[in-house]
């Protein structure tokens, strides 16, 4: 980042990167729904979407057209303003969190590309010095979406869904913060770029080997953070219809799910960058490729777990987070502190 670039280029670059993040992540989030349906289907010995396009690939387009053209209903007794802005909170915070997440190594645009050739591109929209804190804060703020949506819609399932949002939020957020505190102590920085620099020494220098407990705790908390299956209390169909999304239809409903999938991608990226060696080259494999493979593996793990495991009750989630995971996280921090002091 010490390479001098013109200030107007960087500010333009930030805008361009923001647009690219928005476009690519929403496309990938849409593609994630296709992947999820396919993987779940294969694990249940079904075929999944097959008929729209080759191997059902255009199912995303069909779903998108359906969501965009569906009637947008606001229930009679709902708080209209909050009901209408709640989905955008989920989607917006999910994308804002990605601003401080580096995905690829820094690169220079090749000279032969007109207009932008030779420009040095740091692959992060905003390398702020409180990166991890910012990401966690934004993902936590994303929980206001389901919370407000459930309370605004004048529906008992929505109320239950938002109550569950609150308890889930209170439970796992502590574990998320405490679990990554130990790696932060080791690295001595909150910026994910510094996390990546810390793990440049190849496979053996990955944070997982130093902090295996923190990695497992972070994964568990990440599943809770993205409402994935062992902890999908908010919208469990068998218990609370759709929870906070009961009264939503059309694109407002779709925005919740774009936000959810964007959050899944964010958690996958954080796990890959923070614990699994980031975007450093691994042997002969280029950094940008290996980081995509790592992110794809974590994403696949979320689908795999959804196909395999049952989900737990709200009281079990609170029991797990407060009585098991939080003490383990604290002990992990204390041990890390002692090891660093000695």
């Amino acid at each position: 980042m010490e390479i001098a670039v013109l200030p107007e280029v960087t500010s333009a670059g930030v805008i361009i990167k923001a647009i690219i993040i928005l476009a690519i992540i929403s496309a990938v989030a849409g593609f994630g729904t296709y992947l999820e349906r396919k993987v779940l289907a294969f694990m249940q010995r079904r075929l999944g979407p097959m008929h729209v396009g080759p191997f059902g690939l255009l199912q995303i387009a069909a779903d998108g057209i359906k969501l965009f053209t569906k009637e947008d209903i606001v229930p009679q007794n709902a708080n209209k303003l909050i009901f209408q802005i709640a989905p955008s909170i989920t989607a917006a915070t999910a994308f804002i969190a990605l601003a401080a997440v580096p995905v690829f190594p820094d690169f220079t645009i090749p000279e032969w590309i007109p207009l932008l050739g030779g420009v040095f591109v740091p692959s992060i929209a905003a390398d702020i010095n409180v990166g991890v804190l910012f990401i966690l804060g934004m993902m936590a703020a994303g929980l206001y979406g389901p919370l407000l949506a459930g309370m605004a819609q004048a529906n008992k399932w929505g109320i239950i869904g938002s109550a569950r949002t609150a308890i889930q939020f209170l439970s796992y957020e502590v574990v998320t913060g405490l679990s990554i505190l130990a790696p932060i102590m080791l690295v001595g920085s909150l910026s994910l770029v510094d996390f990546n620099e810390y793990q440049t020494g190849g496979f053996a220098s990955w944070m997982v080997w130093q902090q295996p407990v923190a990695f497992i705790l972070f994964l568990i908390a990440g599943f809770a953070e993205t409402n994935r299956t062992p902890f999908d209390l908010l919208e469990n169909e068998a218990e609370v219809i759709s929870g906070y999304a009961t009264e939503y239809s059309g694109m407002r409903w779709g925005m919740f799910f774009i936000g959810e999938y964007a959050n899944m991608i964010t958690v996958s990226v954080i796990a890959a960058v923070m614990f699994m060696g980031g975007y450093n080259d691994l042997g002969f494999i280029a950094g940008w490729l290996i980081v995509i493979l790592k992110i794809a593996f974590i994403f696949f793990l979320m689908l795999w777990v959804r196909a395999s495991w049952p989900h737990i009750r709200p009281d079990q989630l609170m029991w797990l987070c407060w009585k098991v995971l939080m003490p383990i996280a604290v002990i992990n921090i204390v041990i890390t502190g002692f090891v660093m002091m000695v």
Partner: protein, 207 residues
């Protein structure tokens, strides 16, 4: 599993595996130990292994279970009671119905209507024969009562229609004259389906 094993209904002689339920611990320490042992027993990873095994088996081992229904169809059982067929005599090609009227009499939803007359050879001839499939409950009494095996249940089960009621007349159900060679004889109630040997292993009762 062979058919003999499947037919063995005597409970006492089979090799059941009894599930070993541990007693629920009373003390806090006991509960804690149970949590720890369950956590580190690795059962969650067995779950992950099972789904991965099924996925690999489905993708590469030909274990995919889907039948692409409108394009592929499973053979249906001969017992299945779908749209009726009127059969012909194989020797003469004349329709088998002798106009006795038993099916019209026994029909409990009153959907069969027939009209007969004597032809020039003093034989009963069917002039009108309709089944109202909007009313028919496919109970199978008509096929069962028929003394000549003239009316049987066929294999056509895709009977969705834009009309509330649809009628079928005698000539539509009758085997076409030129397709006499393809006429399927009714195997009778209680006959097994053509793929019974494959299905019997898949029955959940079998394990």
């Amino acid at each position: 599993m062979s058919l003999e094993q499947f037919k063995n209904r005597s409970v006492g002689t089979q090799t059941y595996k009894m599930v070993d339920y541990e007693p629920t611990p009373d003390t806090g320490m006991g509960r804690f130990q149970r949590v720890v042992s369950r956590t580190f027993r690795g059962e969650l990873f067995v779950g992950l292994y099972v789904t991965m095994r099924e996925m690999i088996n489905a993708l590469f081992g030909g274990g995919m279970h889907t039948t692409k229904y409108p394009f592929e169809k499973l053979p249906i059982s001969p017992r299945y009671r779908a749209i009726h067929d009127m059969l012909r005599l194989l020797e003469s090609g004349h329709y088998r119905c002798i106009g006795c009227g038993l099916c019209e009499k026994i029909c409990i939803s009153d959907c069969i209507k027939m009209d007969t007359r004597y032809d020039e050879n003093q034989r009963k001839e069917v002039t009108e024969y309709t089944i109202n499939f909007g009313r028919c409950i496919f109970c199978g009494y008509c096929a069962e009562v028929c003394p000549e095996l003239a009316i049987v249940h066929g294999q056509r089960y895709e009977t969705a229609s834009e009309q509330r009621a649809s009628f079928s007349i005698f000539d539509d159900m009758l085997t076409p004259k030129d397709a006499l060679g393809q006429q399927q004889e009714f195997d009778g109630f209680g006959a097994v389906s053509p793929n019974a040997d494959d299905n019997i292993k898949k029955t959940p009762l079998a394990y």
